[in-house]
Structures are given as structure tokens and as C-alpha cells.
Symmetry: C2
Subunit: 345 residues, 2 copies
């Protein structure tokens, strides 16, 4: 392990001062002769000089690193999101430090502090549901407040703070509209944690569409849970005992849970129960009966988020956000109820 080559070595090799080397290598060699420039480039090349990022960060006060906090990297949605974020940040010259917080409020707080200590230039934050609960949200706000760098909420957010997120209400509205158009009136819904804007707003959108058809969501048709498989399973069990003909799951993974339990009970999708989801995970198309769902515009979401955070870090004016809309992907998980379909046309 030989000592790393420093700018000083290059300077000595080229027979100039470190100042000049720094200027030239950073393209600010305004008043440097062509011959000197060449000598410096040659020396740098010869010694295989690579600048020390740490030293640079110390003096410049910026690290070109972004902290990315997600609640669950194994969730397909977040994996895809992280992938897109990384790609786009890399293009802008930023690396990302990943923190996977396993839906834990404690870890959220801890990693925010840790990242701050690393002098990252900004944080892209999708907090755990736990962090957004009434008893914890204060702590989260406090941690964000202490930060000396911009923080952008992604997907899940705290009201009043900068964020980039899907138009969740519209998303659920479309889905409900589709169900209604297929003749369903007794509709069940399985949500995620209600402190998440995604669940709250999706529920709003669903209710809106329902009320436009003079329908209402009865108490017993609402099943609150997590965005996970098990919630879907329990929901399936529950709805089997009701008279709902269709259920909208607020995430595909929940829909998978419904499929699973239904099959275990000897029931079938969509013959016995229609199911729709939100996300459009890769697996949704592979199911026995491919799932009708809303495709999340993950790439655009990441695009907008990166653009916005970069603007915030540069102190630029924030450009208006495009409305991020999910798109209905119709497959085979919804039964057409007779007699009703015509009516809607």
C-alpha cells in the first residue's frame, strides 16, 4: 500500500506550485501558459494522480454526497425508486449514501444525525410510517430542523415541508372509477398506515368517486393495515365474510396477500372477488390472474425529486412540479358485473 499521490507530488514533478496545479486541474487556469498546463497534465497522468475528495470536501464545505433514506429497500417500489435516484444523481456528480431504516422511527432519527455528521449536501427522505405518527412526528421535525442542508421528502411527507409525491387521490379515483364502470358498488378497501399521505389521499380519491355515483364507503368496508403481504391476507379473510364484490388494495403487495389467502380458501380471483392494486410491481403481470393496478411513474418521480433537491442545494428558484399521475393497467383481476356495465357507457 504505497502512499497516495497528492497534489504536492504533481507540483514537484511539474516544477510548479500546488496553487498552479490546483488551478489547472480544475480548469481555472486562466493565467497559466500552455506549456505549463501541459507539463502539469503530463505529471498528473504519469503519477496517476486522483484528487482526495475528503480534503476537497473539507475546504469547500460540500461533499457531493446525498443521503437517501428509505423505509424498506426490499419493497419493490423503493428498490426501483433508489435505482432511479442513483442513476440520476450520478449524472449530476453526486453519490448516494443509502440508509434502509426498516420502518423504524428510531433508525430514521439516528440516520439523519449520522448523515448530518457526514456533511452530506442534501437528504432525500422517505420516513417510516412510525415516524409520521402523532407521537413521533415532533421528533422528526426537530431532527430536520437542526439540519443545515436541504431535505426533500419523497413519496411520504410531512405537511408543510418540501416534497415530491404522486397524485394519490387521482390514482385511487381512477381505480374506483374503473371498478364502478365494471358494475361494482359494494367495494372494500385495504389501506396502509393512515398517517401516510399516500393512504389518506388514496382514501379521499376513492370516496370522491364513490360519492359521485351516490355510493358511500361503509365503515365495515375499510380495512386498515400495513403495506405488506400479511395485511392482504388478513383483509381477504375479512372481506370474504362481507358482501363486497371488489376490493381495492392500496399496494400490489397487499393484493398478492389477498390472492394467496383466497386461494387457500378455495376462492378465485376475480370470480369470487375482484381485486385491484396500486404500484404495478413486475410480479403483478405474472400472477395466475394478472392484476389490474395503477402503474406508478417511478422514473418521473425520481426525476422530479432529484431536480428539485439539486435546485434546493444550489439555492436556485424552484421550478413548478409537474403533477405526477399513475396510469391504469387493465388486466384480468376484475369481474364484469352484468347489467351494470351498459348503464355506465
Amino acid at each position: 500500500m504505497s502512499k497516495r499521490v497528492t497534489i504536492k507530488d504533481v507540483a514537484t514533478e511539474a516544477g510548479v506550485s500546488v496553487t498552479t496545479v490546483s488551478f489547472v486541474l480544475n480548469g481555472k487556469g486562466g493565467g497559466v501558459s500552455q506549456s505549463t498546463k501541459e507539463r502539469i497534465f503530463c505529471a498528473a497522468e504519469k503519477l496517476r494522480y486522483t484528487p482526495n475528495h475528503t480534503a476537497r470536501s473539507l475546504v469547500m464545505g460540500r461533499t457531493n454526497m446525498i443521503g437517501v433514506i428509505v423505509p424498506s429497500i426490499t419493497n419493490t417500489f423503493f428498490a426501483e425508486l433508489v435505482r432511479n435516484l442513483q442513476r440520476r444523481f450520478a449524472k449530476q456528480g453526486y453519490d448516494i449514501i443509502l440508509s434502509n431504516n426498516e420502518e423504524s422511527a428510531r433508525k430514521d432519527l439516528k440516520s439523519i444525525d449520522l448523515l448530518a455528521g457526514r456533511n452530506i449536501d442534501g437528504i432525500m427522505l422517505t420516513p417510516s410510517a412510525e415516524s409520521l405518527s402523532p407521537e413521533n412526528i415532533g421528533l422528526l421535525k426537530e431532527a430536520i430542523g437542526k439540519l443545515s442542508v436541504p431535505c426533500l421528502f419523497l413519496d411520504r411527507y410531512v405537511h408543510g415541508y418540501p416534497h415530491v409525491s404522486l397524485d394519490n387521490s387521482a390514482s385511487a379515483y381512477s381505480l374506483t372509477d374503473y371498478l364502478v364502470s365494471r358494475g361494482h358498488t359494494k367495494i372494500g378497501v385495504v389501506t396502509g398506515p393512515m398517517q401516510l399521505n399516500s393512504s389518506a389521499n388514496r382514501l379521499k380519491g376513492l370516496r370522491k368517486r364513490l360519492s359521485e355515483s351516490g355510493l358511500t364507503l361503509c365503515e365495515s368496508c375499510l380495512f386498515e393495515g400495513q403495506y405488506d403481504l400479511e395485511t392482504g391476507e388478513r383483509a381477504a379473510e375479512y372481506f370474504l365474510q362481507t358482501d363486497v364484490t371488489a376490493v381495492v388494495a392500496f399496494s400490489d403487495i397487499q393484493a398478492y396477500g389477498i390472492y394467496k389467502r383466497l386461494k387457500e380458501c378455495g376462492k378465485r380471483v376475480p370470480e369470487d372477488l375482484s381485486v385491484v392494486g396500486i404500484d404495478d410491481n413486475v410480479y403483478s403481470a405474472l400472477l395466475d390472474r394478472p392484476l389490474t393496478t395503477m402503474r406508478q411513474p417511478i422514473a418521473e418521480l425520481a426525476d422530479a425529486a432529484v431536480m428539485r433537491l439539486v435546485q434546493m442545494m444550489n439555492g436556485e428558484e424552484l421550478s413548478p412540479l409537474p403533477k405526477m399521475q399513475a396510469q391504469l393497467v387493465e388486466r384480468e383481476s376484475v369481474k364484469l358485473l352484468h347489467g351494470k356495465a351498459e348503464e355506465e357507457e
Copy 2:
């Protein structure tokens, strides 16, 4: 955005020198009186001092950051791996910089350089298949060679370099054994890129078990591809035209592809074709006919890898690696061929 509190501020507040503050805060306050210590802790607390990691890194020559390079974060296996790595590294005081290289050799090389410039303390590397191909492997070796920090290959590796990886041969051996015990003799196989040790060794294990029963893998029973859905789909199409009764897919995702195409052709698993996979993704249990597969010991893999890399970074002696074994998870994707089963008992 107020200036960050430095050690100097703490020193002033406590009325001592920065040296003393540094010693005390780092628990090396051997010759410092109790009262002074307390003053310093109070001052630090009061000013909400957090040390500047960048400055510390510069002088100490270590960053406590690990570069983690994966070929595809959206692949469930790698997502799970990264999750486990992050958790364990965090416990050891390391943060991870994630690089998702989208199975690109060019990106592999680029990110190794980038990470080196960041003075990371070590690299956990799962290269793209492309990087391991004969024409690219030289470049990869060169990039690794230039590194002044330890690099540990994970899952995929270059022969002769430190690595942690599954016992792939044994894994495929078990799977084949299971198939044979269920009476299958005409067995097809769909592999990943053959330059990957995972595919090469799995094939070896499969062949070994076959030959033990006096069987051989005929040329036409081998379908080489990627670890992806589409390869599975194409393989299904292919094997439908042969007389194989069972196919072992070298990854679950390929098995999903087989399921998909089979259904599109009006065929069923396992009635028309038995299928097994390797990985045990969460989705494998959810399929119409749950998939029999080998469960990868991802947590142990991550454990061993982190331990080993930490040892390498500390210059410690390397403890022997436990053999990492996958475990058969029997579900419903393999048909029992009559007449043969008894014979095996």
C-alpha cells in the same frame, strides 16, 4: 443556516484547548481532571456539537465508509443482500455508499474509480456478468489492483480473489437430487451467464448428481441465458418442444418466466412440466403453484462478508469461512412420476 459548531467553539466555551476537548471527547482523556471533563461534556452538549466527519477522515486516513457495488438493486436477491449488508455494517460503525451498476462493465469500472477517490475503507463488490467475461475481466482486475483498500467479492467473483459466496454446486446437487427422487430423468436446465461462478458451479453440481444415477445432461437440455424473466419465457418455449419432464431454473425469476409462458401456451405447472428454482424470493410462495426452490442463506452470506471485509480492513487474520449452504424448500411445482418414487426410497 448558521455555521456549524466546531471543536474550537467547544474549547472556548469550556475554557480549555482544542487538544483537551479532542482527547476527552474521544475517551482518551487519561490525564484530564474530572472537573474539566465535565465542563467539556457540558459545553459540547450545550452547543450541540457534532464532530466533522470530513475533517476527521482527512487526518485519520479512514472514512468509515464502504462502497457497495451491485449489478441490480431491483433484483430481489440483491435488494435483500444490500439490506443485510447495511444493517451489519451500521453496527460496525460503517456507512455504505451504494452503486447500482445495471449489469454494465463500464459502470463497474467507473464506480470503482469513483469510490477510490472518496477514500472509502473497503469495497464489497458484486460485478456485472459483463465484467467477468473474458474480454473485460482484465480491466476489472486492473481496477481492483490499483485500489489501495481491500476489496471483497460477494456472490460473484474472480478466481483467486477474496470472496464470499454460496456453495453453488451443492445447491444444484440437492435440487437435482430432489428431481431424481421424484422420478425425473429427462431434466432440462436454464442457466445464467456461464462466466458467473454461480452458473458454472450450479451446472457442475447438477451434472454430478445426474452422473451418480447414470444419467447425463444432453446438449439440447441446456439453455443458457440471463438471470431474468425473459430468459425463462424463452426457455419455456424451447423446452416445450423437447421431452424433458422437469426443468431446473438457476434463479426464481427465470422460473417465473417459465410459469408465465407456460400459462400463455395453455400448459400447467407441474402437470405438463415440473419446474424448480434457486433463491426463494418472497413471490415464489405466492405463485399459482408455489415454487419448489433452494433458499439462499442471504443473512449468513451478508454476515460472513461483512466480518471478512472488516477483518481485511483491520489487517486481522482471516477466520475460516463457514460453508454457506442453501436449503431445499419443497412446494408444489414438481410432479411425482409414478413407478420411480418407490425405487428411490
